[in-house]
Symmetry: C2
Subunit: 234 residues, 2 copies
């Protein structure tokens, strides 16, 4: 193997999006005296993600950045949770909480080790400002932000992966895709990327049923970015 | 002013491209026993830059990354300097020396100070891998790489600036364009960017005649990134 760069899925792989939604939602509950099951809300909001992107992937809708989809999807779930009283500022704040998600505990240490040896880039469906704001807040040491907004195409379309490798000036087999999701790894593997599965067993909460193991033949199967750094000699 | 991010021209503003070409050229001269005035070579190579980009800006040619233009331009100047004996490996090495340029002495210290307070992004005509490799070698702490390859349009076209601000999630007047070149600042200013002129009086060698002062009304007129950090309270 001649790995030169690592590309990362971010939501769920690097950061805990569900915990972040719950945390910021509970702050709203305290302030507003509203009773909401924010874990259920987080799942409902996230469940709108794929259908919204499918409109763009199918070509029925032109490219828009994920911030826009997050806001539209938020408006869709708000009435189901009795949150119609939230004002525009609160809706903006919820929309942009995705810029303020916390990394899993091993992420920053592991990335800093990996960066000594490899170029590190995001390959997420999140937009550039989301990724930049998240990285600055959390200390994620990306060399650059790649992904959907830069390529103007959402994963798992092949061109999302291929254009990232091209921008890195590398062949796909010189790039290791790191993700906690089998779908992402299968799609990148079909494009010729090397693959690393990172187990994130509580991304979807304590009763998670999916992505508990690699469902393809991966190059690295690890439980943390620190273990990945060790395996890669970084 | 409500500046949130700084975008940087890179060649000449952050790094000394002419000194880099001379340094790597002289290493080839020593190895090969060739007598070449590498300063004249550097200027000749760089003089091919604008006409090559103009082909793309005019729409006569589709977008190709700067590495490709650098290589084509190199092939154009090689015969004029009696360098036809250079093999493919040496031509590749010369082409990619743009990935290995050294920053001006104040650049890394200044950028690290500025990064504490502002998002820092490249807004260069250089391609992504060129910018990433340069940053990793030189320690340039960019939050992300923007510019021609990401926007698929070369400066000074307005969309090159406007798409960078959009990707940063900011209005143009929240972004400060930092450059040693009046043309770049005039073009970004027309798009609504704030502007900082940084004097680089030897970019074109000891007898430089151009860009020795700001030829527009700029927000900041400085001699180094450290002075810029001081002016911005960073």
């Amino acid at each position: 193997m001649d790995i030169r760069a690592l590309t990362f899925d971010v939501f769920g792989t690097v950061v805990d999006w569900r915990g972040g939604v719950i945390r910021e939602g509970e702050a709203i509950s305290r302030k507003r005296g509203l009773k909401v099951d924010w874990a259920v809300f987080a799942d409902a909001w996230r469940n709108e993600y794929q259908p919204a992107m499918d409109e763009i992937i199918s070509g029925r809708r032109g490219f828009v950045k994920l911030d826009v989809l997050h806001r539209e999807n938020l408006e869709r779930v708000i009435p189901r949770f009795g949150l119609d009283a939230l004002d525009q500022g609160e809706r903006d704040s919820l929309t942009f909480l995705w810029h303020r998600l916390d990394p899993w505990p091993d992420a920053v240490v592991g990335l800093n080790r990996l960066k000594r040896k490899f170029t590190l880039a995001t390959l997420s469906n999140g937009n550039v400002s989301l990724m930049v704001n998240m990285a600055r807040r959390a200390g994620l040491p990306w060399d650059t932000i790649l992904g959907a907004e830069v390529s103007r195409i959402y994963k798992p379309q092949p061109e999302a992966y291929l254009s990232a490798a091209d921008m890195l000036g590398l062949r796909p087999d010189q790039v290791l895709m790191v993700a906690a999701h089998n779908g992402d790894l299968i799609a990148s593997s079909k494009c010729g990327f090397r693959t690393a599965f990172v187990l994130r067993p509580t991304e979807h909460g304590p009763d998670q049923k999916t992505d508990l193991k690699a469902e393809l033949s991966v190059d690295f199967d690890v439980k943390s970015f620190i273990e990945l750094a060790e395996r890669l000699g970084a």
